[in-house]
């Protein structure tokens, strides 16, 4: 279902999230990777929060990988908006429920990593 300006969240919106998100995350990973190749990089096998706090290329790699894994969350958010705008209530509830599951999985992983 398209808006008046012709922008359809279920195709244009999701495609934009995927295209821009992939470009941003791959771009951050690529820059971090190249900086690491040139200037050297430390141990990359660390919990995500340590990786992001590690500074330099490790921070970029951590942020890039996290951004990549968050793209499905963005897709579901765009889909929820699309279903809401097109009045597809049951589909909107389904996509919000899946979005909630992914966010719960993310929160649980972060909390367990901090606790451990």
């Amino acid at each position: 279902m398209s808006d008046r300006d012709g922008f359809d969240w279920l195709s244009d919106g999701i495609a934009a999230v995927l295209r821009i998100g992939t470009l941003v995350s791959v771009g951050i990973i690529a820059v971090g990777y190249v900086i690491g190749l040139v200037g050297g990089v430390g141990d990359g096998q660390r919990p995500l929060l340590e990786l992001i706090g590690g500074g330099g290329p490790l921070t970029m790699l951590g942020v890039g990988l996290l951004t990549m894994t968050l793209l499905p969350v963005g897709v579901l958010a765009a889909a929820s908006i699309g279903f809401a705008r097109s009045g597809e209530r049951s589909r909107m509830l389904t996509s919000v429920a899946v979005l909630g599951l992914l966010l719960a999985s993310l929160a649980a992983a972060a909390l367990l990593a901090q606790a451990g």
């Binding site: 995927l18 295209r19 971090g32 990089v41 790699l61 990549m68 499905p72 589909r91 990593a113």
Partner: protein
């Protein structure tokens, strides 16, 4: 050849292959990283899950815009695969791994046989159905209109797909593509593109734990992910040009390969 370049090339091949067939490429990435690069299994699985997301996002960006991926169907079935993936770890503790592997191998052989037989009988026939709203993906210029069948069964099957994915460490696409094509009777091209769209959600559900726990080596994951992202974009475009019979043929070969690996695991040789 430098280590990083080999990793990137492996990712490129896995990404292209995965996007062409609606898989995440995990069935290639995990063995490549463990057998070829001597990486621990947990690190390989964690890296593979991120690569599955990269395959999905890289391919789906092309497929959604082109109307090949059925977003409505993908999110509906994605609910089942995400719940299945999250509960997969629980179920894994209830059954011996060899039993699971044997069951999975049998399922794969049956799937390969059914898909091959179906392709020989009706090579490119679109189907009709009782859920007309799912015909949204027929907006694509080259794909005939279609309707899907047996939605309740497919939602249940998608839960099993997510569960099997979580249990056995393979991409959910190996189950969701046959589910969409054989059970729901979506055309193979739509099944591949919709599965490719779904697997990112399924993989994300499991990836966070590996990433936050530190099971992913970012310096190894980076070149693989970069290769996968490029390969997925190429594979999604190739998929649109390949004939449906070729897609099915390639898929059957991969399914039989996975069945063989699972059978070996069941008898204790892998």
């Amino acid at each position: 050849m430098p280590f990083d370049l080999l990793l990137a090339l492996s990712g490129l091949l896995a990404g292209a292959f995965g996007a062409m067939l609606g898989l995440g490429g995990g069935i290639l990435i995990v063995p490549i990283l463990t057998l070829g690069f001597d990486m621990p299994l947990t690190a390989a699985v964690g890296t593979s899950l991120i690569c599955v997301i990269a395959t999905s996002t890289g391919g789906a960006a092309v497929n959604v815009r082109a109307g090949r991926a059925d977003v409505r169907l993908g999110i509906l079935l994605g609910a089942g695969t995400v719940v299945g993936a999250l509960t997969g770890g629980v179920v894994a503790g209830l059954l011996p791994e060899r039993v699971l592997a044997a069951l999975f191998a049998l399922l794969m052989v049956y799937t390969a046989f059914t898909m091959a037989r179906g392709a020989l009988r009706r090579p490119s026939e679109p189907s009709v159905t009782d859920a007309p709203e799912n015909a949204a993906a027929s907006d694509g210029a080259t794909e005939p209109a279609y309707r899907t069948r047996r939605l309740p069964a497919a939602v249940g099957g998608s839960f099993v797909a997510g569960n099997v994915s979580g249990l056995l460490g393979v991409g959910g696409g190996i189950v969701t593509v046959p589910l969409l094509h054989l059970v729901m009777e979506a055309p193979m091209r739509i099944a591949v593109a919709t599965s490719n769209f779904m697997i990112g959600m399924t993989a994300a559900a499991g990836a966070y734990a590996y990433l936050f726990r530190g099971d992913v080596d970012a310096t190894v994951a980076a070149p693989v992910v970069l290769g996968v992202a490029a390969g997925a974009a190429i594979g999604a475009r190739l998929s649109a040009r390949l004939r449906q019979g070729w897609l099915i043929g390639l898929f059957v070969i991969v399914v039989l390969y996975v069945a063989f690996q699972m059978a070996m695991r069941a008898v204790g040789s892998a």
